[in-house]
Amino acid sequence: MSATLMFYILGAIAVIATLLAITRRNPVHAVIYLVNSFFALALLFYLLGAPLVAAWEVIIYAGAIMVLFLFIIMMLELAPGGETDRYGPNWVKWVPILLLAGALGACTLLLTSLDPTTADGVPRWYASPRDFGYALFKEYALAVEIVSFQLLFAAVGAFYVGKPESKRKGRGGEA
C-alpha cells in the first residue's frame, strides 16, 4: 500500500517538475526542474525493483547530460526571458507536439494493457546487476551492438563537424 502511495507521489513530482521545466523562461531553472524530474523517475525505477536502472538514470541523465546542459547554458550566457516572440499563437507549430503526445499516449495505453507476468527477460520484481547484464548482453546483444554503432556514427560526425574548416578542405572530397 505504501509502495503504491509512493509511486503516485513520485509520479506526480515527475510530471509537475517536467511541466515546470517546459514552461520556465530561465534556462537554468528549467534544467533544475528537469533534474528533479529525472530524480523522481530514478526513484520510481528503484521502487519497481530495478536499482541498476535507477542508478544509471541518476549517473547518466542527472549527473552527466544535465551537467553538460548546464555547462553550455552558462557558457552561452542566455538572457532569461529572451526570444519570447517564438511562443506566438501559431498553431501549426503545435502539430508535432500534439502528434508526439498522441504517440506517447498510445504507447502508454498499449504497455499498461499488457500483462507484465507474461513478458520474458529478467524477473520483474528484482533485477540484480548480474541478471541485468546477462539479459542485456546475451539476449539483446544485437540491439546493443546496433545502438553502439549509431553512437559511433554520431561521434565520428561530431568530430568531422568540429574540425576546423581549413583542415576539412585539405582532405579533398574524401568525406
Binding site: V28, I32, P51, A62, A64, V67, F71, M74
Partner: protein, 330 residues
C-alpha cells in the same frame, strides 16, 4: 516486538554515531591541515585556542554561525540559498554505503558495520559524486558575479572530465571482485589488496579523486590569485561554512573509497577492523594534505590534456588488459 525495537535502536545509534564522527573528523581535519601545512612551511599554525589549538574548530564554528549571512542583490535567491546545502548533503550521503568494519555481534544480533549494503554500491557512489557538481555549479551561477561564474564553469568542465577516468578506473575493481557491493569488494581483498593486484587502476583513481576534490594541484575552480575565491566568492557566514565542511567531508569520503576499493578496507593484522579502516583513511587524508603542501597548480590546458589525452585512454586500456587477464586465468 522488542527485537524489532532493538533493531531500530541499533540502526539509529549507527546513523547518529556516523554523523557525529564524520562531522567532528571534518572539523578536526581542517585543524590538522592548517597545522601540518604550517609545519611543512616552517610555521606554527593555530596554537592559541585551547591546548595545542585543539579548540580552534569550535571557535571557527562560532565565528561562522554568528557572522552575517549576506545575500547579493542580483543573486538568484533560492538557488543561492540551496547550493551550499546541496554540496554538503551529497558528500554526507555517500557514507551510507561505506563498510567501515567486519559485522559485529551485539545482543545476539549480527550488526553489519555499514548503513546499507546496496548491491549497486559502486554506482551509488558514482551517482552521488556526479550530483555533487550541482552544488558548486549552481552556487557560482546564482551568485551573479563574474568570478563565481568563471569558477563554476571551470569546475564543471574539470569534474566532467575527471569523472570519466574515475568511473573507468573502478571497472577493473568491479571485474576482479565480481560485485558492485562495497562489502563484497572488501571481502574479495582479504588476501591481497587491489593496490598490489592492479596498481594502474589505483594510480588513475587516486589522481581523479584529487581532481574531484578540487584541491591543489587541481584547484582551478577557486584559484585565489585569479578568481578571488572562485565559485564561493559571494558566500559568507555558515553558507560558506557548508561549502567548506562539504569539501572536507568529501575528502574523508574519498579517502574511505580509496581504502575500500584498493587498500583492502578493514582487513589488517593484529588490530580490530574499525581501527585499521580509520588508520587507512587518515593516512590517505594526510597524503592529500601533503600533496597540497608540495605541488603547484596546473594550467587549465594542461589539466584538460592530462585528463582527456592521458588518463582516459590509460583507464580504457586498463579495463581491456584486466579483462583479458581475467579471461586468461579463467
Amino acid at each position: 516486538m522488542p527485537e524489532q525495537l532493538l533493531t531500530y535502536a541499533l540502526i539509529l545509534a549507527k546513523l547518529g554515531l556516523i554523523f557525529f564522527v564524520i562531522l567532528t573528523l571534518a572539523a578536526y581535519l581542517v585543524l590538522a591541515e592548517r597545522k601540518i601545512l604550517a609545519r611543512m612551511q616552517l610555521r606554527y599554525g593555530p596554537n592559541r585556542v585551547g591546548p595545542f589549538g585543539m579548540l580552534q574548530p569550535l571557535s571557527d564554528l562560532i565565528k561562522l554561525l554568528t557572522k552575517e549571512d549576506f545575500l547579493p542583490a542580483t543573486a538568484d535567491k533560492w538557488l543561492f540559498l540551496i547550493a551550499p546545502g546541496l554540496s554538503a548533503v551529497t558528500a554526507l550521503l555517500t557514507f551510507a554505503v561505506v563498510p567501515f568494519g567486519p559485522p559485529l555481534e551485539i545482543f545476539g544480533q549480527t550488526l553489519p558495520l555499514v548503513v546499507i549494503d546496496l548491491n549497486i554500491g559502486v554506482l551509488y557512489f558514482l551517482g552521488l559524486s556526479s550530483l555533487a557538481v550541482y552544488g558548486m555549479a549552481l552556487g557560482g551561477w546564482a551568485s551573479n558575479s563574474k568570478y563565481a561564474l568563471l569558477g563554476s564553469i571551470r569546475g564543471l568542465a574539470q569534474l566532467i572530465s575527471y569523472e570519466l577516468a574515475l568511473g573507468l578506473s573502478l571497472v577493473p575493481v568491479v571485474m576482479m571482485a565480481r560485485s558492485f557491493s562495497l562489502t563484497e569488494i572488501v571481502m574479495a581483498q582479504a588476501q591481497i589488496p587491489y593496490l598490489l593486484l592492479n596498481p594502474p587502476a589505483f594510480l588513475i583513481f587516486l589522481i581523479s579523486v584529487v581532481a574531484e576534490s578540487k584541491r591543489i594541484p587541481f584547484d582551478l575552480p577557486e584559484a585565489e590569485n585569479e578568481l578571488v575565491a572562485g565559485f564561493h566568492t559571494e558566500y559568507s557566514g555558515m553558507r560558506f561554512g557548508l561549502f567548506f565542511v562539504g569539501e572536507y567531508i568529501n575528502l574523508i569520503i574519498l579517502g574511505a573509497m580509496i581504502t575500500v576499493f584498493f587498500l583492502g578496507g578493514w582487513h589488517g593484522p593484529y588490530l580490530p577492523g574499525v581501527v585499521w579502516f580509520s588508520l587507512k583513511v587518515l593516512a590517505i587524508c594526510f597524503f592529500f594534505i601533503w600533496v597540497r603542501a608540495s605541488l603547484p597548480r596546473l594550467r587549465y590546458d594542461q589539466l584538460m590534456h592530462f585528463g582527456w589525452k592521458l588518463l582516459l585512454p590509460l583507464a580504457l586500456l586498463n579495463v581491456l588488459v584486466t579483462g583479458a587477464v581475467l579471461l586468461w586465468i579463467g
